[in-house]
Amino acid sequence: MKLTLRVWRQKNSNTQGKLEDHQLDDVSPDSSFLEMIDDLNEKLTNEGNEPIAFDHDCREGICGMCSLVVNGVAHGQDRELIKAVTICQLHMRNFKGGETIVLEPWRAEGFPLLKDLIVDRGAFDRIIQAGGFISVGTGSAPDANALPIPKKNADISMDAAACIGCGACVAACPNASAMLFTSAKMGSLNHLPQGQTERYQRVVNMVTQMDNEGFGACTNMAECEAACPKEISLDFIAQMNRDLITATLKGIGPTV
């Protein structure tokens, strides 16, 4: 099929960007979205132009590297009820010949642009460094079965831990809030007995770091939940807010 791609091109964060149109004449419906971009890049290279820079790696929806806003939607996934996919898993049979597809990077203050469709998500790493871990050194663990954990808790923890850290939640949010990511990360730890010792300090520190990175606040639009390729629930945000209030009442201040 034939497609027109309207792609965001920007040399780096110090220069102005613009949308640029490219035509593709022979896109296979069986190719994945990123393979379609590969095709375009091959064409651009052969024509002596610079290919489009975009992030991608595993191409099976788990590494969280790919990050495209397609026709205004993070991971382009609201096509014919296709949900819960990363853009690397979306295939071209979901598009129609003759369509114009607009490709943009994640746009958020917390994610400065590096080039074309690539942004810097280092802020997410720094939020984890603020407290998204259990402080247990290698070698000091008791036998794994010494601490029974109700299956339900383990399952909720896993629901939250499924987050791939792609940043679609931020890209989808009108406020560019990172609360779904941050709450999922602490939610997976806070639902386990191992995570209780540091629970309230963790919430205070991670939320503080999240604010310092320039992410916005949550106004319950739920766009993040809709865009999340791993279907992380808004419940984790509610839980985080509850824990934050408790921590505040306990008088716990940030240590980051």
Binding site: S28, E35, T45, M65, A144, L147, P150, K151, M158, L192
Partner: protein
């Protein structure tokens, strides 16, 4: 060409595996006592470079940071959490025997040596089985949400044909969850300042000074800056080389560059011909295909594999009557049927497809049919077991496996070969270590399911922190700075290579060369290898390489984020590495594990080992540009495991 084997210089007795003497169950304990320790106050005076942030590299960097060393961790992704360990689905083995079904450290050890078709080092594998239990404890303490029973205890399953249930898992995302555990530990050390992270940074050379590994030359993938970092030791945790095949289940960025640079600086490369081919992947859909997606092996528990009995039968799957269906695994292996090991399932799929029985538009797959189990158990049970896999299949192929059979075909999945290391995981360059998939040590010629995660974490959490200390405590390390001639020479070589790649300005893209190389390797150094095919590859690879250096086009600038340049450097290294791999496969004129030489098979078509002539590790030594590499042999002896012929009839 005939005499290429005669040109190989063979050296015996050059490799010291450094395995301590003693009964196998005591070796590691005794060694831990005998190794030298670094005084706690002195640890912070040592700098260690970690290349890679996956299960092995992330775990090692975090643990060494906890111990007090200064660690610098480099990786090409934008976050340490994205290393390709993240994609492992199935699980992680450990000899806990929580299921009381007869497992033990010795059984895990035995199964791993046997599964590796007797081409691994016994002492290393035994240690792996020993520390497997500590891994599960550690990961549970970190908050890895392993699957649990209703009583709160950890759940286990049997995996990959094992007769005991020793596999721990976290839904279908075990690799992701274990990696997040390591990443969180790493993040904790980054916050504490013991580990410094270098995202989007690629290693382009290893710096060796006075025959010791002392640093790396890096390229900042955002700014293009070439910069050297020096340290007291370097660890390669760079994963496997499956991307040599172009199409594989590896991530797009996986590469052999750091290991290959180390090889050219003097680190021997062991058993490059051992790769694992996973039987249940989705076949390529056309020329645009960029990577292959694995479907969990567990599907073979309920799916039946078949092809049309008559070659060239173009009818749709559901129109082919039972009498015209060829259930080739069930017919050939009545006792194991569809559950034969990975290599056997893969080779048989290749045979039927090569004979013209392939299915799908491109005739490049075999059917994995669930209609019988859906009829017996009901669609809801199948959905409960494999729902997410079926959804993934539908999203990729546009077909509904509840109604028409899945199409599957084998794909490259894991590389057992890697940098040669001794018992301390140290390469032939003092101070250069290699851990996880990047080394060759534990899986022999074939890896068992759920053992990759185990090995990566064993090396990272529980082996390298000790053996590295032993090295640092004894090594005499001179003070060096970036003005040292060896640093300048390495930087100059990197700059010159980059300049050359940018200046060729030919007519073909980097990926077109990668595809061409991958095709040659897949056809000739893939699932079934022959003397003639390997010689063909050895002739063809240098031709492609020569054209690459004359006709590749790398657009853009080297002083910028340039993904074409990144790929060009990696493909240039694959173009050299592929040749050594083909040479290794040619020299090893036996079949073992994932390495199947058609000339060496049993009457039933199984891999036939030649223990008399090939019970050794092939460690290839760089002999200089354009020269045939030197083959160093490390003999393998088996005191605890009896060598047998595998049979799955």
């Amino acid at each position: 060409m005939k005499n290429i084997i005669d040109q190989i210089k063979v050296v015996e007795g050059s490799l010291n595996s450094a395995v301590p003497e003693g009964p196998i169950q005591d070796i590691w304990d005794n060694h831990r006592f005998n190794m030298k320790l670094v005084n706690p106050a002195n640890k912070r005076k040592f700098n260690v470079i970690m290349v890679g942030s996956g299960l092995a590299g992330g775990a090692a960097a975090a643990t060494m940071g906890e111990l007090g060393y200064n660690v610098q961790c480099f990786f090409y992704q934008d976050s340490a959490r994205r290393a390709h360990s993240v994609a492992a689905q199935g699980g992680i083995n450990a000899a806990k025997n929580y299921q009381n079904d007869g497992d033990s450290i010795f059984r895990l050890f035995y199964d791993t040596v046997k599964g590796g078709d007797y081409r691994s080092r016994e002492a290393n594998v035994y240690r792996l089985a020993q520390v497997s239990n500590n891994i599960i404890d550690q990961c549970a303490a970190q908050g890895v949400p392993f699957a649990r029973e209703y009583g709160g205890a950890l759940d286990n399953r049997s995996f990959g044909g094992a007769q005991v249930s020793r596999t721990f898992y976290a839904r279908g995302q075990t690799g992701q969850q274990l990696l997040l555990g390591a990443y969180q530990a790493l993040s904790r050390q980054a916050a504490a300042g013991t580990v410094k992270l270098f995202p989007r940074t690629e290693i382009l050379d290893i710096i060796v000074i006075d025959e010791q590994a002392r640093g790396v030359v890096t390229r900042n993938m955002v700014t293009g800056e070439i910069k050297s970092y020096l340290a007291d030791a370097v660890v390669l945790a760079t994963g496997g080389y499956g991307n040599l095949y172009y199409l594989s289940t590896n991530a797009m960025g996986c590469n052999v560059t750091a290991s290959w640079r180390a090889y050219k600086r003097g680190a021997f490369f062991a058993n490059p011909c051992y790769v694992q081919i996973h039987p249940t992947c989705i076949p390529p859909a056309g020329e645009h295909q960029s990577k292959l997606t694995l479907m969990s092996e567990s599907l073979r528990n309920d799916g039946r594999i078949w092809v049309p009995r008559n070659a060239g039968d173009n009818r749709k799957a559901n129109d082919i009557p039972e009498s015209d269906r060829y259930y080739y695994l069930e017919e050939k292996y009545p006792s194991f049927g569809n559950l034969v090991p990975r290599d056997v399932a893969s080779r048989n799929a290749k045979t039927v497809v090569d004979e013209g029985h392939g299915v799908g538009e491109l005739k490049n797959g075999v059917y994995l049919d669930f209609s019988e189990s859906i009829g017996r158990l009901g669609a809801h049970i199948i959905k409960e077991r494999y729902g997410n896999l079926f959804d993934m299949y539908t999203s990729i192929t546009g077909e509904d496996p509840y109604k028409v059979p899945m199409r599957i075909y084998p794909a490259i999945h894991y590389s057992m070969g890697g940098t040669w290391v001794d018992y301390n995981l140290q390469s032939t360059i003092p101070g250069l270590f290699s851990i996880g998939e990047a080394n060759f040590s534990d899986h022999g010629a074939n890896r068992l399911g759920a053992s990759a995660l185990m090995q990566g974490l064993a090396d990272g959490y529980f082996v390298i922190p000790y053996t590295m200390g032993n090295y640092l405590a004894q090594a005499s390390l001179k003070k060096v700075d970036t003005n040292h001639p060896a640093v300048k020479e390495a930087e100059a070589a990197v700059n010159e290579k980059t300049k050359k790649l940018m200046s060729i300005n030919g007519k073909r893209s980097v990926s077109s060369f990668h595809r061409e190389l991958g095709r040659v390797i897949w056809d000739n150094v893939g699932m079934a290898r022959t003397d003639a095919g390997l010689r063909k590859a050895l002739k063809r690879i240098p031709e492609i390489r020569a054209e690459f250096w004359e006709n590749v086009r790398v657009p853009g600038s080297a002083a910028d984020l340039n993904q074409s340049l990144e790929m060009a450097g990696r493909v240039a290294d694959f173009l050299e590495f592929g040749e050594v791999m083909a040479l290794d496969a040619l020299y090893r004129a036996e079949s073992c594990g994932g390495h199947f030489r058609e000339e060496s098979q049993t009457e039933e078509g199984e891999a036939l080992r030649d223990d008399e002539n090939f019970a050794y590790v092939s460690a290839w030594e760089y002999a200089g540009e354009g020269k045939t590499p030197i083959l160093n042999k490390e003999p393998l002896t088996f005191e605890y495991v009896k060598l047998t012929q595998r049979s799955y009839k």
